[in-house]
């Protein structure tokens, strides 16, 4: 039982087995060591300890009585199980011995803000943390991943902590998974599918309500980015930036914080979200800002950056981002997409400029040029953006009469924004109510289902397009014969007027059945 002093902390090594056969002897030796010196703390190094019985545990308890802050380190899994089962891990600090993993030659499959993910064998991956003292980060990430899983987000949770060189890593089971970045890079024909899945997961994250106090608020971070710019851009621009971020409303829904295609994995036919350490709550604009950076911002000055990071080229990233943004917003209108992108750019540039400056960006010529480039763009886009808030052009609701007011409120907001005349708004309301009621009553009868309502306003010529999508029974309302409006009251049937009113009130009505969905599109020119 050799021992050595480390500062004022005494490290005592435990070896082999400690049981009733030798516990008295071990205890005597420990206390002899302890009585010899002026000791502030005790560390029991269990690296070579293979077994400990209750007699041995009692020895540890007696040490702890004199040194309440003592700890046990380098504990192998078998001994850890014993300490865990007997409640010792809760009574005192017990640190595991970490398995050593070698990542030389392993494929890099993901990279996030604070670590890189490698595949170590067919079924397992390891995330190696950049920060050498990463145990706290690992604990944090495990906590938030568990929380996300409980809240319904499909993710992977690490089951082991390992040593990788001088760094720590956490090990996940990830069978035959490949990242969406890899799919985009090697199977470009799957772009549409990737966009659809990526957007679906984004909506899922954003519809997840997080219990109070469980996650940090990303707006607090964003305020730091905005305040940082005070010394780096003209005063009026800096003030505007800060007031824009301050005005973003509080939101208790989830934000991933680093939602790009390396953090979305396909495992079998299941899509998993990984790299959860930046998980937070907040307004979706902050998520979009990080997405803009990943697909455009970081590589806007030097287009090679994205190739290195994501494996696909700048144009692919740009196209994926814009298509995802359009699908997410539920719009066909490029102008709307670019307007929301501008809002994301405001936050995005502020974030990368600060990040670059804090990571030595000013020390290289390229870094300085890049920062100038981003600054110029930030100032330019600030001139155009008056609010960071946006609304998706899509409402996804249960098809039932009770939701009519919500649908009309959603449309009226958009129409008012677009400066639609009151009378037109009434006509549109009428058409929308008639269509919505039709879907609510017949599409899923006698069951229930959902309907998506998209609203887009186009220019030149100015018109509004409203689209209803449901997955109910195929039904083309336009096939319905128009009622004879010249009949007398006695001859009139009660009902059958709805669709007729829609056709009269709208300038264009189109129906199509596609991918198992009824799609009805209304157009009205201003």
């Amino acid at each position: 039982m050799p021992e050595n002093t480390k500062g004022r902390e005494l490290v005592i090594a435990l070896e082999g087995r400690i049981d009733s056969g030798n516990s008295a002897e071990v205890e005597e030796r420990i206390f002899r060591e302890l009585s010899d010196k002026d000791i502030a703390g005790v560390v029991l190094d269990a690296e070579k300890l293979s077994y400990i019985s209750s007699a041995g545990l009692r020895v540890i308890l007696r040490v702890r009585k004199n040194y309440p802050d003592m700890k046990v380190v380098n504990v192998c899994p078998e001994v850890y199980d014993i300490l865990d089962m007997t409640g010792f891990t809760e009574m005192m600090t017990v640190e595991r011995a970490y398995r050593v993993v070698n990542i030389e030659g392993c494929e890099e499959i993901g990279r996030g803000a604070n670590g890189t993910i490698y595949r170590i064998d067919k079924d397992n991956v390891v995330k190696v943390y950049n920060n050498a003292d990463a145990l706290e980060d690992i604990r944090h990430e495990r906590e938030v991943a568990k929380l996300a899983l409980i809240l319904g987000i499909p993710t992977a949770i690490s089951y082991d902590v390992v040593k990788v060189g001088e760094s720590y890593g956490s090990v996940f089971e990830l069978l035959n998974a490949s990242s969406f970045s890899k799919i985009l890079a090697t199977e470009p024909e799957k772009m549409d599918w990737c966009v659809k899945e990526y957007v679906e997961m984004l909506k899922k994250i954003q519809s997840t309500l997080v219990p109070k106090g469980k996650l940090p608020d990303i707006k607090d971070e964003a305020l730091k980015w905005a305040r940082f710019m005070k010394d780096h851009i003209p005063e009026d621009a800096a003030e505007k930036l800060l007031s824009l971020v301050e005005a973003v409303p509080h939101d208790d829904h989830m934000v991933h914080g680093d939602y790009h295609t390396k953090n979305l994995m396909l495992q079998g036919d299941e899509v998993l979200l990984i790299d959860m350490d930046t998980l937070a709550i907040g307004h979706p604009i902050f998520e979009l800002a990080a997405m803009f950076n990943a697909f455009t911002g970081f590589s806007e000055y030097d287009h090679n950056v994205i190739k290195e990071f994501q494996g696909f080229d700048f144009e692919t990233g740009r196209s994926f981002w814009l298509r995802s943004l359009a699908a997410y917003l539920g719009t066909d209108n490029e102008k709307t997409v670019l307007e929301v992108e501008d809002k994301a750019r405001v936050v995005g540039y502020a974030r990368i400029i600060r990040r670059s400056m804090r990571h030595g960006g000013l020390e290289t010529e390229k870094g300085r040029a890049e920062i100038e480039f981003w600054k110029e763009r930030l100032i330019e886009v600030l001139g155009r953006v008056d609010s960071l808030v946006f609304e998706r052009n899509e409402l996804d609701v249960e098809a039932e009469d009770a939701n009519i007011p919500a649908v009309l409120a959603f449309l009226d907001r958009r129409l008012e924004e677009a400066g639609c005349p009151m009378k037109l708004q009434m006509q549109i309301d009428l058409a929308v109510e008639e269509i919505f009621v039709n879907i609510a009553h017949y599409a899923y009868a006698p069951g229930k289902g959902r309907v998506k309502v998209n609203c887009d306003v186009f220019d030149d010529p100015r018109y509004v397009q409203i689209r209803f999508t449901d997955s109910g029974i195929p039904y083309d309302p336009l096939e319905h014969e128009d009622p004879d409006v010249t009949l007398s009251a006695e001859e009139r049937q009660i009902g059958g007027l709805g669709i007729y009113l829609v056709k009269q009130a709208m300038d264009d009505v189109q129906y199509e059945y596609k991918d198992g969905q009824n799609i009805l599109t209304l157009k009205k020119f201003f």
């Binding site: 009469d401 009770a402 009519i404 007011p405 009378k423 009434m426 006509q427 309301d429 009428l430 109510e433 008639e434 009621v437 409006v485 010249t486 009949l487 007398s488 009251a489 006695e490 009139r492 009660i494 009902g495 007027l497 709805g498 007729y500 009113l501 009269q504 009130a505």
Partner: protein, 99 residues
Amino acid sequence: MLNIIKKEEEGKLLFELEGRLDTITAPDLEKDLMSSLEGISGLLLDFEKLEYISSAGLRVLLSAHKATAGKTEMKIVHVNDIIMEIFETTGFSDILDIE
């Protein structure tokens, strides 16, 4: 939202409607209206404060018209332009007595 103010004068019934007559509110009016028709000598619907009508509202008007036909005079007054256009589009302006 629809506010229904009901008044009775010398056997004549007056309904003042305020707000929207749509899928949500039409059933309320229908219930109120259809249960009040017994024994009245006239029915007046005042649309001065009615902003909007959908086909669900039109159906109530048609039901009331059918129920009163030949027995009671039914009249709609103070109709705004938007609602008038809907009456015209659907031919209701030819059926109903509208002022």
